[in-house]
């Protein structure tokens, strides 16, 4: 009875909604979802789950992993290199993240107005983004080498006392690496803010001007609130980029000298592939994952709360 009713309905062509309800999701759409999901599951989810399991083992990559429970995490508490790496990652997040937002926003404000030649400046600031970070690191290493450009500049301006082995001095190595990372990131953040500024309705500025708002007041009360959407994009980009920063540190200092510029990411890599303590390295990876999740979730929860 029902079957004939449905059949007759479909024969009369009474709409695709009822047909899809009868036959479920089209196999084509199902395939488009399931095939990538299976591939993702095999190459992303499964190794990630394995990583969690390995974090609970002691493994040298040769013998079978030995289950040790939370032993690796216990070791971390008393590991001075881990503490240095954690501290450096926090410094990196604040300095690299903070300065690239301030720098990128400043540059965007400076270069937002269309005047002659402004394109050249924008392009110049964006150019470092195009280079691979490994190449950037190579160039900056030449700058930092003894009697290199940085030393020469300091000597020329009479600050010869400041000259030091920038990348080989534990007090300066981390900061010396942040500079080229910023040099690159500022251009990227600038482009994001430029796009945001372009989207601000000029009528708002006109209205503010008519009300007698100064340039600072216009920035403070019109521009910044209007950039809320861009801010969330910039923040996620910055947090993710900070926590995954690896290449520039590895190519400039390899976390040295004696672990002074170690980030969690470089420590994880060297523990895994140089010291072949793959269980401990997996535990470090779990810590990085939890940190990233905490920062991003924290932000998302706040954002949702504000919205509601």
């Amino acid at each position: 009875m029902t079957a004939t009713a449905v059949e007759s309905r479909s024969r009369t062509g009474s709409g695709s909604a009822s047909r899809s309800r009868r036959r479920g999701v089209s196999p084509l759409i199902l395939a488009f979802v399931l095939v990538p999901f299976v591939i993702e599951a095999i190459w992303v989810f499964w190794p990630a789950l394995q990583g969690f399991w390995l974090a609970l083992t002691s493994w040298d990559g040769l013998s079978a992993p030995r289950f040790i429970g939370f032993g690796n995490f216990g070791d971390m508490v008393s590991d001075p290199i881990f503490r240095t790496a954690l501290k450096n990652t926090a410094i990196w997040l604040v300095l690299f993240g903070g300065l690239s937002v301030i720098g990128g926003f400043g540059m965007a404000l400076l270069l937002q107005r269309e005047r002659r030649g402004v394109g050249i400046y924008r392009a110049a600031l964006f150019t470092p983004v195009v280079f691979s970070l490994v190449v950037t690191a190579l160039i900056w290493r030449v700058f930092y080498q003894p009697d290199g450009l940085v030393d020469t500049v300091f000597r020329t301006v009479g600050l010869g006392n400041f000259v030091r082995p920038w990348l080989a001095d534990p007090d300066t190595a981390l900061y010396a690496v942040i500079v080229p990372a910023l040099w690159r990131q500022i251009g990227y953040v600038m482009v994001l803010y430029l796009a945001g500024l372009k989207a601000v309705d000029p009528a708002l500025y006109e209205a503010a001007k008519v009300d007698g708002a100064s340039a600072w007041q216009r920035t403070r009360y019109v521009t910044i609130p209007q950039l809320k959407g861009v801010n969330s994009v910039v923040l996620s980009v910055i947090v993710i980029d900070s926590l995954r920063s690896f290449d520039i540190v590895w190519s400039m200092t390899k976390g040295g000298p004696y672990h002074s510029s170690e980030l969690l990411s470089t420590y994880m890599y060297s523990t895994a592939f140089q010291s072949t303590q793959l269980g401990y390295a997996s535990a470090l990876a779990v810590v990085i994952f939890v940190l990233a999740l905490a920062v991003i979730l924290g932000y998302l929860i706040r954002a949702f709360r504000e919205e509601s």
Partner: protein
């Protein structure tokens, strides 16, 4: 309508196949049964980490020469040294590993033998009667099997430019006191006496630790310490650093910033006086400058300690899972012959010495002197990572570079080093 449906079916089938195809590489290593692969075609794979231009060309010549002898055909696969090092455990533990590998003798090879991953090549050694006792010991696993075929070695020494020494009026020192005197004299000329390159290559500092330890405490103590049977907080280890401190003021302060290749340039340019390094530094030196290069043995500190020298030995080992054990052994036996080693030594940079006593090393005064020094030594050590493990090397890098920077903190440094080493031995 039907056409469209059929198209969709073909499309889905294709998609399914694509999905399946992407799974294949993951399974490839496990589905191939032993004996089904290269043995049938009589092909051996040789995984090589000799990726520098000269060494790679020499390896190609070597393989071409073997392939002409009519045995199994060998296929050379050159991998960048750093990738090779990190991948080696994966190669050896995979289900279908490459057959033969370039690697190092001693503890670093034995660590794989202990996991039962290496082919027993004792029968190959039966045809290698003329090899020295030291080479035999280096190639024997802790279980007493031969697991390694040595083909060449090189030496470490204190290298300097003859013309510069003449100009500064100094002669090569033999004892520690003479060495300190030479340092003082060179420093008096405004030149940093001792060059070093720790920028990208912090492991170079391990040579100083190795030499001071074997000169002060002797090679057996050194080996035990590196095998985890000793303690880095031992007062005997601290004595090494006390001695080292005496010459710290003579190290080139800029050496912290650049790799050993640039330290080589600094030495050749006369910007430093001496450089403790292995002969491989010659790869990054212009040929004309090499004629002016000489070396002296690391100074004797305690005459009562039998003289040991660092002579890292290179060669080959094979996977336990080789598809054609007989063909593999035949190839290894050929690599041990003087003919094969001569092909390699002559085609590479020329400072390596054949491991076979009948092999012909380069005929230069420098190589003759190096060979004589090694042959006259009572004991041979390999190098820090080869006498211990690659995993222990980063712990030494951190401890030694920190000592060079902050010698006052030596007690804490040794404590941290012991803790880090403990973690490696425990893993």
């Amino acid at each position: 309508m039907t056409g469209l449906a059929a198209d969709r079916r073909t499309f889905l089938k294709g998609l399914g196949l694509l999905g399946a195809a992407t799974l294949v590489p993951g399974c490839a290593t496990s589905t191939k049964s032993p004996g089904s692969g290269s043995a049938a075609t009589g092909e051996l794979s040789l995984q090589s980490n000799l990726s520098s231009e000269q060494a790679k060309a020499a390896m190609e010549k070597l393989v071409a020469a073997y392939n002409k002898t009519g045995g199994s055909q060998v296929k050379l696969n050159t991998v960048a040294a750093e990738i090779f090092r990190t991948q080696l455990p994966t190669y050896l533990t995979s289900a279908n590993p490459p057959d033969v590998y370039t690697w190092y003798a001693g503890s670093v090879a034995d660590s794989y033998a202990k996991k039962d991953l290496l082919l027993d090549v004792t029968s190959v050694w039966d045809s290698m009667g003329n090899y020295s006792k030291a080479m035999q010991t280096l190639s024997t696993s802790s279980a007493g099997q031969k697991i390694f075929v040595p083909t060449s070695y090189y030496w470490w020494g204190m290298f300097y430019r003859k013309s510069n020494f003449a100009k500064w009026g100094v002669t090569p020192p033999k004892t520690w006191d003479e060495f300190v005197a030479v340092c003082k004299k060179i420093q008096g000329k405004g030149i940093p006496p001792i060059g070093i390159g720790l920028g990208d290559t912090p492991w170079v500092a391990s040579a100083w630790f190795d030499y001071l330890n074997i000169r002060i405490n002797g090679a057996p103590f050194h080996r035990q310490l590196l095998a985890g049977e000793g303690d880095f907080t031992d007062p005997k280890v601290k004595a090494v650093f006390t001695k080292w401190r005496e010459v710290l003021p003579y190290f080139d302060p800029k050496g912290k910033s650049f790799p050993f290749q640039e330290a080589t340039s600094a030495l050749l340019a006369g910007k430093t006086g001496m450089f403790l390094i292995g002969t491989f530094f010659a790869d990054s030196a212009p040929k004309d400058a090499l004629d002016d290069i000489d070396f002296f043995q690391f100074p004797i500190i305690d005459p009562a300690v039998p003289v040991a020298e660092e002579a890292p030995t290179d060669g080959y080992f094979a996977s336990k899972k080789v598809k054609d054990p007989e063909g593999t052994k035949k190839f290894l036996a050929w690599l041990a012959t003087p003919e094969a080693q001569n092909i390699y030594v002559q085609s590479s940079s020329g400072t390596a010495i054949p491991a076979n006593p009948d092999g012909k090393s380069a005929d230069t005064a420098l190589v003759k002197k190096g060979k004589a020094m090694i042959e006259g030594a009572a004991e041979i050590t390999q190098f820090f990572n080869r006498d211990s493990s690659d995993a222990l090397q980063p712990t030494a890098d951190a401890a030694l570079t920190k000592f060079l920077d902050k010698p006052d903190q030596i007690d804490q440094i040794l404590k941290d080093w012991q803790a880090a080493a403990q973690k490696v031995f425990k893993a």
